[in-house]
Assembly symmetry: D2
């Protein structure tokens, strides 16, 4: 049994990672750190953990050595203390954006300040198994992924690999997201009478996850918009991409199948019948699946690619658990078997 | 034209009253007071007023004499300054609970502290036209109503008047309410991921509006529970009341018709067909209607009485406008003609 | 491995039972019967089962012998063919209301027609482990439970056992339910623009589950109302019950603890802090938990008891799986470990 | 007073038009035609009209001459009978797609069959006052607009007029829509447990309203996707458009202001503070406003233009009423003063 401590464990990603540990045969919860909630029971903020015998939150200063550290801190905090954390655990997964980008100049461009420990960037592997599986096997330092970036990357990367994209044209993406993306702290904009039923484009241009999409897909001419809609969990990306003249539906199928046919957590959803013919994000709540699809308009060479994920799972803690399995050489599906609910 | 100033005008009830003024032929907005938003445009917090040429919020100290003062302050504030306000306007409507109860001992019992200006209680008329229409005509000081109390009172009062209730048995009521009842300020419990989809009984026993129900219906053996559900606007009360042996459906019809047949804003909804056979609270958003119904179980003498209102309208600002019309001797329906939307 | 066939397997309860089988170490899916969908893949109507290698739907006529039959048919169908089904499996669980009541006269009273095979009523055990655990061990014929009855029964039964209820007064209950209670077939009333945001009391009086509450609690003076609200899954019952003079909060705690402290799937939720102080039905989606609470108003001896369940799980398929575990002498928690999600 | 009859008056657009008539000083309801509901009261399907004294639905055969005919029929029906209708009223507004396109070949391309009365296409004016105001004054035959097309057209047209668009690049649009777009008839896909919380891209490519966008904006290289989300009313379009090198934020402001500054029902929403900084579709429920905004990414010349409307109002009946006012030479704002609700 490996012991896992979570630093910043009162947030939503921390809560999901804790849930996953409770169902994992080789992991156990060690410490859960929260300055705000130190001394209080976990169930105070994580009511889905009521049934488990878990420790109370502890102060940051009480952190002791353990096997695995999950860092679920606000952006900027992990990089500041990374040396300290590295001395306390054999494996670290940082869920923030601190170690996602390979290049410190990109970090500075998108996050508006210089990275404080740029020498650590190359030590971290970007934690998306569909891209970096081999690097993740046995890795010690892994960065979590951005949820909106992940939906976008999974929708588009097969077309890059198959070299189908006509790069004369920009790729545009709108990601529709749930309120849990904003985190566990309330704000005027998260007040239920305000947020309920909203269709609020909060990042029309300039979203930071663009950097992750550049890095993972290699696509430069790609443009994101982010819109909050009425849901709690979920990120559903719809990308408009123009493919090379002559590209057929069959080519697109081949591109997706080549990349995803052996992926345990990516499903191609293209049905001719029933209520769920394309990815439906609500069906993914609590699961680690990314559901993807494409539609081709042969008259214009436009492809509409969709990827839906649970932002807290495949977009954060689920993928992190998949990575941890790889880091320890275990079956990467362990602890991630929840199939989702219907109806929901 | 009468000029109206609103003290505490940044809340939801204030916003609704402002909307009603914009549609009222004999009223105009004078000042809108808000300590927090002084100097800012009304549309900052009241986006539905974007189309109107309205003043910016002003500091409390800037309040000047006017014709009508609407007090929309936190409970306890209006009573403290009522002498000052009375010197500044010919008509006052206080939307808080400060002047709803006739009896200062009841106030103290339910609100947990002595009333600071009990001599003013008798000067205020409880502002429910269906009960106090004649007292409201020409009145100068009127108290707003509690939304949950109003739904309950409108459901039950006809049975009291018709003397149909078997008072050996308690009357029990559950009011299902929307998130706007909690006001315009965000809190941990109003955070969208938490509040969304909730069925949260926040006042199982001891709700303060019970005092208003006692006062208006005369019923003592009545018991409220309040449950927040997934909606923004609305309060829908379902009351279980036991009627005297031998009471028939026809008796109940007569009781409701007697009290409500001439009421412009109370509708008896009992349909045999269609999707909306009983009151449906969502249909009342933005309207001043209270929709009521009853069902009799002849085997047990139980009557289930339902009343649905928009908590911000019939439960607050709509009824206040209806009162203001009466206070000035105008047609009480003026400015309250919105019929609601369907579908919604 | 025991083989399970589901007759009427295209509905929501059938879909949930199938999900539970996929996570159960000692069960496997044999046949799934649906006249409407015969020949089509299960995922067509059960998209949460996409990841499993499951058979297609088959015609009723194709049903062959198996180990366990789950009957998920419209009310009235199972009783007509029970002799046939009994010849085809060693264990049967019928999810309909056909075999819930012990007494054929009660069946006729509440369901409006004579039971066609009343001699089978005594062969079936009412499938609520919290009440009939010992009878369920090794049983061959088990009836599923009514979801609304179950929420009500679990809220109230401890007070009956502890003899705390003042039976001079009626007990009144309002159950708030999600749209999945109406089943998988669309209707004018389930049309999204109509059903969305509804607070629709569809059974003010006379709800059939009252019979199950009578039978399980022994309470005769109990009265249900059913209200559809904006949610897909869930049933949340709030009961007003008057207890004997002098009953204390401590007495109520003792009553609940006595009955529930060893129950694996019933949790008493009474918190002083946090966002989830009483049962919150949304947290139970997909789980087999029933969360219960009580509040006492000492001034009036009113107790407000709340029980929340997922209507498709603890209110149908989850409890059925718990029963099946008992019927085979297995640990009753097997296959029911999902802890629920937060936020949701 | 002009008399208005509605053919196909049981649908949602018909219901909204009826609501608007009840608030219009120069219009009165004549006949409301519905084959399905003939003989039944309007409130059976239009519960928001309960307070008005309106006729029952009548059979199609009973249609008599009147002043204004509103045709709210399924696509294809109005063109078949247009000669008959033209003989029965001085003014006709057809809300279907039958007379929206100028060119019969475009109609055939997008609707898949030849137009049966192509000679009538040129007699109809496309009913978008922001584009065709002068043609609409005094017109006798007006076509309603497509809701998704209208949101798209209003977002983009100012940039076309100002010649800011770089036409080397495709324009891509995703319109998020509410369930009322699907009409008043229930279907498997509109079943609440299925439709609730959905993010369902039902037209990834090839949406028919593209033809209207081509026609109104002149843009050929424009590509729509339609996604149903959790809301009842509303269409919110987000368009990605690339502008010419050197285009500034100020240029975009000028483009929008030039076209919209005198428009009574189009509002540019770009706020630096508050919860509603860009168009928020829920605030428009029941109103005739289109709220528009733009954001420029100067690094890439991408503009994100957003337009939000109530699909049943500005996207259907509201614009139709605005047209009718113009057709009769009245103030075009008459009957359209509802400002919307907040919170909602």
């Amino acid at each position: 049994m490996k012991k896992v401590s979570i630093v910043g464990g009162s947030g939503y990603a921390g809560g999901e990672f804790l849930r996953l540990i409770t169902g994992h045969p080789a992991l156990e919860v060690d410490q859960v750190i929260s300055r705000t909630y130190a001394g209080q029971p976990l169930k105070r903020v994580h009511p889905h953990l009521r049934n488990f015998d878990l420790p109370t939150f502890v102060e940051p200063a009480a952190l002791h050595e353990t096997d695995v550290l999950i860092l679920a801190l606000p952006h900027g905090k992990a990089q500041a203390d990374i040396e300290k954390y590295a001395g306390m655990a054999e494996k670290i997964i940082d869920l923030s954006a601190d170690f996602r980008l390979d290049d410190a100049t990109h970090y500075e461009k998108w996050y508006g300040e210089a990275h404080s420990t740029p020498e650590w960037l190359e030590k971290f592997v970007y934690g998306l198994p569909e891209v970096n599986r081999e690097k993740l096997r046995g890795a010690d330092y892994v960065s979590g992924v951005g949820c909106n970036a992940t939906a976008t990357n999974l929708a588009l990367r097969p077309f890059v690999i198959a070299d189908l994209i006509d790069d004369n044209y920009p790729i545009t993406v709108e990601v529709k997201v749930g309120s849990s993306e904003g985190g566990a702290s309330n704000s005027p904009g998260s007040h239920h009478p305000v947020r309920s039923g909203a269709v609020r484009t909060y990042a029309a241009v300039g979203h930071r996850h663009t950097a992750e999409v550049h890095q993972i897909t290699g696509l430069e001419n790609i443009h994101l918009s982010l819109t909050s809609i009425e849901m709690v969990r979920g990120a559903s990306a719809l990308a408009h991409v123009f493919v090379k003249e002559g590209t057929t539906e069959k080519d697109l199928w081949k591109a997706y199948r080549k990349v995803y046919k052996k992926e345990p957590f990516v499903r191609i959803i293209k049905e001719r019948h029933g209520n769920y013919r394309r990815p439906e994000v609500k069906l993914l709540s609590g699961t680690n699946y990314a559901d993807v699809s494409f539609d081709l308009d042969p008259a214009t060479n436009r492809v509409v690619a969709i990827a839906a994920i649970d932002n807290l799972m495949k977009g954060a803690s689920g993928t992190a658990m998949q990575c941890l399995n790889l880091m320890y050489g275990w079956d990467e599906e362990v602890g991630l078997s929840f199939s989702g609910l219907h109806p929901i």
